[in-house]
């Protein structure tokens, strides 16, 4: 008990003061570290404030006025990163200056739906917009009653047919699936799945377990690989040749790191979004190519939630995303824009893919449900081509 009383005056107290000072200094310095400018190396996007293109209906002004009454907030549930969103939010706020707070809750592509369905069934969700590229989950979500708001965007007339992915679901960007490879360790650059199979078969010892594929049981892996086999008559035979050399991974981040390090020599059906920045950073060590035998294109869909707290602002946002200004911002953020006429230095576009492999070889992934037994039989076929790993599963 003596120790208790003298605690505040004993030698330890000097240390306590020092400790508090250190904590304070640390807190101050981390505050100071906040805030920095983001650079935009791309040419500035010209935004007309509060102006809408002339092909919009006359009543559109009502939507704009209604949005002014809504409080300037927007809540998005998406699987898209802050960096991808940053130019989009910046330009949207520039265009409609009364909107001050656009926040994106970042979730996994399927968790987006689980969360919003759970919230909607227990009395209301704070989400205004839903963004995801999980095709099967979108199809399931859109089919249910009372999940999405009916809305037809006036931009549809200016866009290709695939811009409307499902009733009330629109395409925000179109992400291409690439083949990423390590330029130093690969004997030659692959040009497609068949070419990759050729290279591997020519030197099986080097390539055994050195090619990575996305886990086919995951929503993303299944969707893009399934689209490939559906659209491409030679799809299964090409996969049959290349799958024995592969190992599955569950994230593109892991795949790109391992290709960089040389643990894998190549990987296929890796989405452009995570791949392009790594290509830029690696100064030529890693490169990506669009598969010539078929490049799956996975659109990123956006829809307005049924009881969105800010319906008018949500409509403005959806229309903005699909407009020319919005598509520039989408491309600036690192995703692939698909509207005609959007192009520039460092911007990735749908047109780029068509130029590379030709329109017949771009496989647009449809948002549709796949019956359970079809999924199972597809998976069985996939696994029959993959050789069992040394540790038997």
């Amino acid at each position: 008990m003596q120790a208790l009383k003298s605690r505040f005056t004993a030698p330890g107290s000097g240390r306590r003061r020092l400790a508090v000072a250190v904590v304070g200094a640390f807190a101050l310095s981390s505050l100071a570290a906040c805030g920095g400018d983001d650079e935009s190396p791309v040419a500035e996007n010209k935004i007309t404030v509060e102006g809408v293109p002339d092909y919009y209906p006359a009543e559109y002004q009502d939507v704009i006025d209604a949005s002014k009454e809504e409080g300037g907030e927007l809540v998005i549930y998406s699987n898209t990163s802050e960096e991808n969103w940053a130019p989009i939010f910046r330009d949207f706020k520039k265009k409609f200056p009364w909107v001050e707070d656009v926040s994106a809750n970042d979730l996994d592509s399927d968790e987006v739906f689980q969360k919003i369905l759970s919230e909607q069934s227990t009395g209301g969700s704070p989400a205004d917009l839903v963004v995801s590229n999980a095709a099967v989950a979108w199809a399931d979500f859109a089919e249910r009653d009372g999940t999405l708001m009916d809305y037809e965007s006036p931009e549809l007339g200016e866009l290709p047919d695939f811009a409307q992915l499902l009733p009330n679901v629109y395409a925000m960007s179109t992400d291409p699936m690439t083949i990423a490879y390590n330029t130093e360790l690969m004997s030659e650059a692959p040009t497609g799945i068949a070419s990759l199979a050729d290279i591997a078969e020519a030197d099986p010892d080097t390539y055994q377990d050195k090619i990575t594929v996305r886990d086919p049981e995951s929503s993303f892996g299944f969707t893009v690989t399934h689209a490939f086999t559906e659209a491409n008559a030679d799809g299964w035979s090409e996969l049959e040749r290349v799958l024995p050399f592969t190992r599955a991974e569950t994230s593109s981040g892991t795949q790109m790191e391992k290709i960089l390090a040389g643990e894998y020599l190549a990987g296929f059906f890796i989405s452009g979004g995570p791949a392009f920045p790594v290509v830029d950073d690696s100064d030529g060590l890693v490169d990506v190519v669009y598969p010539e035998d078929g490049t799956p294109i996975l659109p990123r869909g956006i829809g307005i939630a049924a009881d969105a707290p800010h319906p008018a602002t949500s409509k403005l946002f959806v229309d903005f995303l699909m407009s020319e200004e919005g598509q520039f911002a989408v491309a600036e953020g690192g995703l692939s824009a698909y509207r005609d006429g959007v192009e520039g230095e460092g911007l990735h576009t749908y047109q780029e893919v068509i130029d590379a492999v030709g329109e017949e070889k771009t496989i647009f992934v449809n948002y549709e449900a796949v019956p359970k037994d079809e999924i199972q039989s597809w998976l069985d076929q996939f696994y029959s081509y993959v050789e069992p790993a040394p540790e038997d599963s």
């Binding site: 802050e82 940053a86 996994d108 759970s118 069992p388 790993a389």
Partner: protein
Amino acid sequence: MSTITDAPRTPGSEQRETFEPPRYRRPLGIGRDQLVQYGVLAFLAVLVLAPIVPTLYQSFVDRPLYEDGRVFTVEGYKALFTDAGFGEVILNTLLFAGLTTVLTLVIAIPMSIVVVRTRLPGGRFIALAMQWPFFISSLILGFGWILMYGPAGFVSVQFEKVFGGVPWNLYSIPGMAVTEAVALAPIAYLFCANALRQSDASLESAAQVCGAGPLRILMQVIIPMLRPPVVYSSILVFSMSIETLSVPLLYGQPVDIDVFSTFLYRNGLQSVDPDYTVLAAASTVILAVTISLVAIQAKLLKDAARFVSVRGKATRPRKLELGWVKWVSVVFIAFYIVFGALIPIGGLVFRSFTLIFTPLRNPFDFLTMKNYETIFTFDTYVQSIWNSLIVAGVGSVLVSSLAVLAVMVARRSTFRFGRGVEYLALIPQSIPGIIIGIGFFWAFAYAPFGIGTLLQGTLGALVIAFGIRALPSAFGSVAPSIMQIGAELDAAARVSGADWLMTFFRVLRVLITPAFAGALILTFVIMLKEYSPAVFLSSADSNILGTTMLELWAQGRTGSVAALASIQILITAVFVALAGLLMRGKHRA
């Protein structure tokens, strides 16, 4: 402290009391002891059962809870047990968890003995350094290990150049066990170290008087007295290994090794066709396993009087002179710290300063601050750092206090449901984090008086969910220390008129303070790196470090992940160092 008593008066004359025993009010015949004890039980029951009840319900219902038209079914359990390959999954899981536990103890026990009970140069630094792997989530640690020791890791490539081959295979069950053991050994170390600091020198003196040398004292007095922390930590580590997802996923996925958690992950939310019923059924199975583990633990710790070492008389544990054995263990510790912790974490920190990190290129050519810029440019990322600090700071105080109260009720009172309190406090340790998140989501949705809507999406929800995850560790770290305090102190207090609560506040509280401090540090670290329950409970305003790291990882921004991990390590190291400084005079009770 001394009480002065008057000379005894002659019988017959009035005895004037020099010491007034305290009086207690008993409104409605219920003493305040009972109030507190029942209160703790009720509070724990609500907190722990809140996420479990929806999960149990879901396991018997054929569709997700947000859909109408539910039908009761046992299909979930049937599907689980008849799934081809499930038997292998169970075997893999048991092997993995068992190996991890053994390795953890092999690392932690010698290390705690050598650091706490022998004169080790740089002992304090070593004690801190060995906890570094614990400061980051095992996802990041696994990533660090792959960077260094994986098939294309820096160390592997160098080793291969010199020796022509690599004798280890990270992508295997032993590989997973080693990494997980490195990540969890600090828990066992903390438990054992706390207990060792309170050892009773008189027992060892008695052994010495009988002619025992230091090694014998070690083997026959000190190590057997470590049974409570060893049992608590091994049960904890075993349960955490059953539930851990990151390391088995990173290492097992490329070679098709499935353990329970990866099995759930692949058939659960990530799957193209998620089956909530099976998910919930599997969680219930794990729950049953945990309950039986806690029962085993109770059996092992019966007759707790054997482990008492803090008595009415104050003693100070002495340092042992172990001679050459000490140097062997120093080498062993150095090996563990350098290869287990320093190299992978060093690699990670270095990764945060480069654009790319590959043995094929000189990393010094790619140095950059861009990864840190990315984090500090976006307000949400910076906000997540602050949120994490708040959640961990507030949460650790609350959880540690609750843990101390719970241990007092469970092990230090005559409360008839004391065993129940212990079970409740330890159950959450092996429920997968995502299940806790989903369970709390539904609990908040159906909570009465709209409490749920107040909490959902706020930091409060995260404090609760993360707190539940940290509670078993806090309980396990405090319990052995309390068990070491002799019961005669309580008896003496009772004789003087103190009830249970007063015994706690006036007698035991100061003795428990070191354990409380240890639990505080432990829970802070755990809650800082937690993330899986946050998926369902957080909103854009309540982002935390873990979810931000996951987000960046999914986009392939591994440099920024490494940057955030480095920041997390820095915060934790600073906190632990400060806490260690502040607690420095308090180790002697």
